[in-house]
Point group: C2
C-alpha cells in the first residue's frame, strides 16, 4: 500500500465469532509518528500506554486487538497493554517503547493474554506489504472496511497517504471506538506530522457527531516512513492528501453510524463567532428530536430552530434563514417551505441543512446521522 | 381548589380531536404573580407577551390555548398573543396588561383567531372554583392530568398551594412544552413570590432531563390570592409547600416522558464542585447510549463511566464508585457487579444511579428517563 510499511491481521480467538482480532502495522524502523487520543477522562489502558510511547519519540510499529477494549481494567489492564507492546517489540526486534498499542471491544473485562500473546506472535510472522488482513482485523460492528488512499504526484515521483478506520460512528454497543491508522511514505519531521494531524482531526473527525458520546479508547495514528524522496516544497500538497484521507474516513464513519439511514451536513453561518456557530451546529446535531425527525424525513423545522435556540448563542429569531439543500424552509424566522419538496430532500441518503442566524460572520460545519429504530435496537440490545 | 381563584376550560376547535383547548385561570383581581420562562433564544409570542405583563406588575388572570404554540409566527403571532390578553381582559373586566398568556402545540402555524376568540369568550363565562376543566384543557400529548395540592395548617388556619402541569417531559412531537400553573391563597409580596419561584424551579424543574431539548414555549406561573389570613412566620412552611408541589409536578413530568418505561434519579457525589457534579449528572442523563441501555435494563456501566468522563470534569477513574440502588456496580474503577441483581434494579420502574467520583465534595441530582422504541415511534412519526 505504502512503501516502508508492512501489515498483518490474524484470528486469535478474542472475538467469539472467530474473525481476525489481532493486528500489527510495522515500519522498517522507528519513524515519525503523530497521534490523537480520546478526550474522555475515563481512558482505556492502551490509550495511556500509546500516549506515553508516542510522546517519547518515534514508533516502529503499532499492535492492536479487537474484541476487548482493555478499558476499566485497572492495574492489570495497564500491565497487559504494556505486555502487548513488549510482545510485539520482541517479535519485530524493536524496543517496546517504539511500539504503539490500541484495543477496541467490550469494556471492563480483562484481556485473555494467552490468546493475545499467540496472536501477536502469529501476526509478527505474517507481515506483508498488503493491508487487507490488517484492515479486516481492526473492525468490530462495522458494516465493512473503511479505507482511503490519496496520492501526490510531481513528475515521476509519487507520495502516498493511506488510511483505514474502524467504528460505526461511535454509536455501537459498548461505546464502539473509533480507531484510525494512517501511513505515508512522505519524508517529514515529527513536528510537521503533529501539526498536520491536529489540524486535520479538528477539520474532519471532530466535525462528526453521532450521539455526542465518546469512547474511552478512541485513537488515531499517522506514521511517516520517509521512503519517498521529495522536495520540502511538496509539503502543502502532502498535507492536502492527509486531509483528504481523514475527510473520507470521517465521512465513512458517520455514514456507517449503526442504524443510520441519512447523513446530514449541518452548515451554520451568520453566527456571532465560529465558536458560536459550532455550539449551534452541535446542539442541532445532538438533538434527539431533530435526529428522530431525520429518521422519518419529517421537515419539522421548529425542532431545528428550537435546538439552535438553546445553544447559548445570541441571535434574533426574526433574522433566521433555513434551507434543506436548495429548498427554502425558513425566511426571517417564518416557515416558507413547500412540504413535499422539503420531505423529498430529507428522504435522500445525504443532504445539507443550512442555517443562517443573521447575527455575524461565524460559521461551522458538522456531519451527523439520524436516530431511528435501528439505533435503539442495536444499542438497547442486552450485551451477550 | 384554592380560595380566590376560578377556572375554566372549553373546546374551541383548535385541536383537531375536539378536546378542550382554551382555558382561563382568574383571581378576583390583580394579585402577586411570579413566573419563569424558557431559556431558549427562540421564544414563542405568548412568552414575550407574558414576560412583559408579569414584569409590569400583578396579574388578575392567565389565558392559554393548547393545539397551537403560536411560535415562529412573527409579528402576526405577537399581535395574536396580545389579542388573547385583550379578549380575556375584556371578558373579565380587567386591563389586558393584567392578563398572562401561554400557548402549546404545533409550531409555525398562525393561531385560528376566530376560534380562539370564541373560546376565550366561552371560558370567561364558565369560570368556577373547581379546576377539572382547566386541567384538561392544558394537556396535549400527556397520558393524563398532572396535579398536586399541598397544605400548611396552623390551628384552624389552612394555606393551600395547588399546581397543575402539562408536558410529557419535553419529549413529545413538535417539542411539547412544559406549562405549569400554580396558585396559592397565601398572603405574600411579589418579591417573596419571585424568590420562592426561582429557588423552587432550580431545585425541581431544572433537575429534570429527558432529552436535553427545551421548548420555545415553556412557562411556569405562580399566583397568590392572599385570601388566607396567616402570620408572616408561616412563610417558610408555605415555601415548603410550594417546593412540594413543584417537586411532585416535576417528577410527574419525567415519569410521563413519552415512551418512558424507567425513571432514574442520577445522584453524583464526590465531584470537585457542585457545578462539576451537575455537568457529570447531565452528561449521563442525556447520553443516548446510557438511555438506550436503560430501556432494556442492561447494566452496561461502561457507558455511564464513559458519559461521566466526557463532561469536562477532573476525576481519577481509579477512585470511581457506582451503585444502582443498593447494588454495588463499580469499586475503585473496576466492575464488581452481580449481574442478575444489577439487572433486577434496572428492570424496576424507578431506581437511583449513585456515582461517586472520589474527587471532592460537590454533588448534584437530576432525574431522567430511558430512550426506547416508543420514544422513536412517537418522535419520528410524521407530523399530520
Amino acid at each position: 500500500v505504502v512503501p516502508g510499511f508492512r501489515f498483518a491481521g490474524v484470528a486469535a480467538g478474542i472475538k467469539k465469532n472467530g474473525k481476525p482480532d489481532v493486528a500489527i502495522l510495522a515500519a522498517d524502523g522507528p519513524v515519525p509518528t503523530a497521534a490523537v487520543f480520546t478526550q474522555n477522562r475515563v481512558v482505556a489502558a492502551p490509550v495511556v500506554v500509546a500516549r506515553e510511547h508516542v510522546e517519547a519519540g518515534k514508533l516502529a510499529a503499532i499492535v492492536m486487538n479487537s474484541g476487548n477494549a482493555n478499558a476499566c481494567t485497572g492495574k492489570q489492564g495497564l500491565a497487559d497493554a504494556r505486555a502487548m507492546t513488549r510482545l510485539a517489540g520482541a517479535g519485530l526486534g524493536v524496543d517496546a517503547k517504539r511500539v504503539g498499542v490500541a484495543s477496541t471491544g467490550v469494556i471492563g473485562v480483562p484481556l485473555p493474554m494467552d490468546r493475545v500473546e499467540r496472536g501477536i506472535a502469529a501476526a509478527a510472522g505474517a507481515l506483508r506489504p498488503g493491508w487487507d488482513d490488517f484492515v479486516a482485523a481492526i473492525l468490530t460492528t462495522d458494516k465493512g472496511p473503511k479505507t482511503h488512499v490519496a496520492t501526490v504526484r510531481v513528475g515521476h515521483r509519487v507520495v502516498t497517504v493511506a488510511g483505514c478506520a474502524k467504528g460505526a460512528g461511535m454509536i455501537a454497543p459498548n461505546m464502539a471506538t473509533t480507531l484510525s491508522f494512517l501511513v505515508t511514505d512522505a519524508d517529514v519531521t515529527p513536528a510537521w506530522l503533529r501539526g498536520v494531524t491536529k489540524r486535520g482531526v479538528d477539520a474532519t473527525y471532530n466535525r462528526v457527531l453521532v450521539d455526542g458520546d465518546t469512547s474511552t479508547n478512541d485513537a488515531l495514528f499517522l506514521m511517516a516512513s520517509g521512503a519517498a524522496a521529495h522536495k520540502p516544497s511538496l509539503l502543502p500538497k502532502i498535507e492536502g492528501a492527509v486531509r483528504e484521507v481523514m475527510d473520507a474516513l470521517a465521512r465513512l464513519l458517520v455514514a456507517d453510524g449503526e442504524g443510520a439511514a441519512h447523513v446530514a451536513e449541518i452548515r451554520v453561518t451568520g453566527a456571532p463567532s465560529d465558536r458560536g456557530a459550532e455550539a449551534v451546529a452541535r446542539a442541532i446535531a445532538t438533538s434527539p428530536l431533530v435526529k428522530t425527525a431525520m429518521s422519518s424525513a419529517d421537515p419539522n423545522w421548529g425542532r431545528i430552530l428550537g435546538a439552535a435556540g438553546r445553544a447559548g448563542v445570541k441571535f434574533d429569531q426574526d433574522r433566521v434563514r433555513l434551507d434543506f439543500d436548495e429548498v427554502p424552509i425558513v425566511r426571517r424566522g417564518l416557515g416558507v417551505m413547500d412540504e413535499p419538496r422539503a420531505h423529498a430532500v430529507m428522504a435522500k441518503p445525504a443532504y445539507t441543512v443550512r442555517l443562517d442566524l443573521g447575527a455575524g460572520r461565524g460559521s461551522w460545519v458538522v456531519w451527523t446521522c439520524d436516530l431511528g429504530h435501528e439505533y435503539v435496537r442495536i444499542n438497547a440490545s442486552y450485551r451477550s
